[in-house]
Symmetry: C2
C-alpha cells in the first residue's frame, strides 16, 4: 500500500512537472512555444508572397529584403533601403516572434500582422506599389490563382487574402529553445554563470520592467530617453503620431530582445552597432544607472542567451509571371 | 551453354543500357546529371556567402539579389539594380546550370565561375565593394573564420577562397529531370505531342545549331542579329569588348535555354518579356524564318519542357557581425 501510494505520488509529481515545464521558474519572462501549423497550404502560400518581389513596383523588393530570415528577420541596416534607394524613416524591426507583440511598427499603428503587411507594399518610400496593382499582378499568375483558390476558396482574391497569408506565414516565425528558454524550463546548465549573473542584474536593475513577457518586449509603449533625453537626428515622433497626444512624443513600442544578437543595429534610429553600447545607453537614459564594464558584459552575455532556434526555411520557388502579367517598373 | 551465353549477353546488354541511359536517343542535346556534392562544408560556406549582403558596400545586395534562386536564378528584370539603384548595363544571366557554360558573362570575359564571382563584388555599378574590404568584413566575423579554417585550413583567407567557395556552391545549382531530360532518357510519355513537334521544329529549323549540348547553349559565341540587325539602345558590344576585334561586335555567348520559362525577360538587353516574342525574333533575325502561330506555340511548348527540378535551398542563417566588423555604407 505504501509502495502504491508512493508510486501514485511520483506519478502525480511527474505529470505536474510535465505540465508546468514551461513555468518551472517564477520569472517575469516566459519561454517561447514552437509554432503549430494548422494550415500548411496557407503557410506555404504566405511564404511565397513574403519572398516575392513582384509585390513591389520595382520587382526588386520583397518582405524578406528588409526582414531577412538569414539575418534575424532584419536587414542589419540603420534604416532600410526602399524603392529607388530611398532611405527609410526608421530601423526595420525583426519579423521574428513579431506575432507575440501587442501591436506592430515602432509606433504600434497596426494592431495585427495582417494590417502591418499591407503597409510597406503601398508605402511610396518602401515597396512603392499599390494594393490594386499587387492584386492585379498576382491574379495574372495562374499558379497563384490556383493556390489562392485552394486556400481561400476564391479566385477573385484581394489584398485581404494576400496580407492574411503573409501574416499566417509570419506567425510561424518564432524562435524557441534559446538557452534562456531552456533555463526557464528547468535546465540549470543552459546558462553560463556570467549569463545568469546578467539576468539577475537585468531583473534587479529594472530592465525587465519593460522587457518582459514571452517576447522580452512588445508589451508596452515607453518613452525613449526617460531619465536623460535621447539624442538623435531621426525625426520619428513615436506613439504621438498615432494618438496625437503630446505626452506620447518619443514613446515607442518596447522592442523584443529575443535574437537581439542578430538584429543590430539598435534603437528606432539604428544608431548603435553593438550590444555593449546599447546596454550602456539604456542603463543611463532609461534607468539612471551606469553599469560597470563587468556588469555590462554580464548583461550582454545574458542577451546572447536569447538567440533561439531560427526558422528553417526552404526557399520557395515562385510561380513565373504569365505573358499578360504587368511588368515591374524599377526605373522611370 | 546456350543459357549461359544468353545470360551473359543479357548482362552485357543490361550494362550497356545502364551506361547509356543518358543517351538513349541520338540527339544534339544531352540530359543534365544531378550535382554530386563531394565537400558539403565548402558548399554550405559558399551558400552563406552567396546569400550574404555584407559582400556589398551597402549591406543590401547579395549574389542572390540578381541571381535569385526563387526565380530561376535570375532577377526577372531587364537589367539589374545595383548599388544606389544604379541601372545595370546588361540582363543578369541565370546562375542555374552556369557551370555547364564554356565561359561566364554575356561576353565570356570570365573563364570560370570562380573568376566570375569576383566581378560583381568589386563592380562600382553592382555591389560596389572591393575585394580587400570584403575580406576584411568576413575575417572580422568569428564564425566565418572558423568555417574558412575548417574548409581551407587557413584563417587568413582571401578573395581566392571566398570566390572558390561561391563557385563550388554554384556548381551544385543544376536542374536535372526536366520533362525533356526524361524524354531524352527514353520516357516516351514525358513530352506532349505539341512539345515533341516543337522540338523537331527547333532542330530542323536550325535553332539547335547554337542552342545545343547539355545546356542548350553556352557552347559558342554568336552574333545577335545575323540575318537582320537587332535593334536596341543597349550599348553592349559583346565579345568585341574582350577580343578587341571588330568582327566580334554584337557577338554574345549563346544563353542556355534551360528553365527559360523562369528567366524572362529575354536577350542581353532584356527587351523581350514573352517566349512567344523571343521565338519570333530569333526566327526572323537569326534564321531568316517566320514561324507561323502554330509553329511558334509548338516551340514555346517545347521550351517549357526545359524547366528542370529547381535546387532545394535551405535558407542559410548568416553568422552575425562582430563588434569590430566594418559596417555597411548604404547612404553616403
Amino acid at each position: 500500500m505504501l509502495s502504491f501510494r508512493l508510486s501514485a505520488a511520483l506519478l502525480v509529481m511527474g505529470m505536474a512537472f510535465g505540465a508546468s515545464a514551461a513555468s518551472v521558474r517564477n520569472e517575469p519572462v516566459q519561454p517561447i512555444t514552437p509554432a503549430e501549423i494548422t494550415d500548411p497550404a496557407k503557410v506555404e502560400l504566405g511564404k511565397k508572397l513574403f519572398f516575392d518581389p513582384r509585390l513591389s513596383k520595382s520587382g526588386f523588393i520583397s518582405c524578406n529584403s528588409c526582414h531577412n530570415l538569414s539575418m534575424g528577420g532584419s536587414d542589419n541596416l540603420k534604416t532600410s533601403i526602399g524603392d529607388r534607394w530611398q532611405e527609410g524613416p526608421i530601423n526595420s524591426p525583426t519579423v521574428l516572434n513579431s506575432s507575440l507583440n501587442m501591436a506592430q511598427f515602432w509606433d504600434g499603428r497596426a494592431g495585427t500582422l495582417k494590417e502591418q503587411a499591407g503597409g510597406p507594399i503601398a508605402n511610396p518610400k518602401e515597396m512603392a506599389f499599390t494594393h490594386e496593382l499587387a492584386v492585379e499582378v498576382l491574379r495574372s499568375i495562374p499558379q497563384y490563382v490556383a493556390e489562392f483558390n485552394a486556400v481561400y476558396g476564391k479566385e477573385d482574391f484581394g489584398i485581404d487574402e494576400i496580407t492574411d497569408a503573409i501574416a499566417v506565414f509570419e506567425e510561424t516565425l518564432v524562435t524557441p529553445d534559446a538557452p534562456f528558454d531552456l533555463w526557464l524550463k528547468g535546465d540549470d546548465n543552459a546558462l553560463t554563470e556570467q549569463q545568469l549573473a546578467g539576468y539577475q542584474l537585468f531583473k534587479n536593475s529594472g530592465c525587465v520592467a519593460c522587457h518582459n513577457g514571452v517576447n522580452l518586449g512588445g508589451t508596452s509603449f515607453q518613452k525613449m530617453g526617460l531619465i536623460e533625453p535621447y539624442q538623435t537626428t531621426n525625426p520619428a515622433e513615436g506613439r504621438a503620431a498615432v494618438t496625437g497626444k503630446d505626452a506620447d512624443r518619443f514613446s515607442f513600442k518596447v522592442p523584443t530582445l529575443r535574437n537581439v544578437e542578430l538584429t543590430y543595429p539598435y534603437f528606432h534610429d539604428g544608431a548603435v552597432d553593438t550590444l555593449t553600447e546599447a546596454v550602456d545607453i539604456m542603463g543611463r537614459l532609461q534607468l539612471g544607472r551606469h553599469f560597470t564594464d563587468e556588469e555590462n558584459a554580464q548583461i550582454v552575455a545574458f542577451l546572447k542567451s536569447l538567440t533561439g532556434k531560427q526558422p528553417e526555411i526552404t526557399l520557395p520557388i515562385l510561380p513565373p509571371s504569365h505573358d499578360n502579367t504587368p511588368r515591374p517598373v524599377p526605373f522611370d
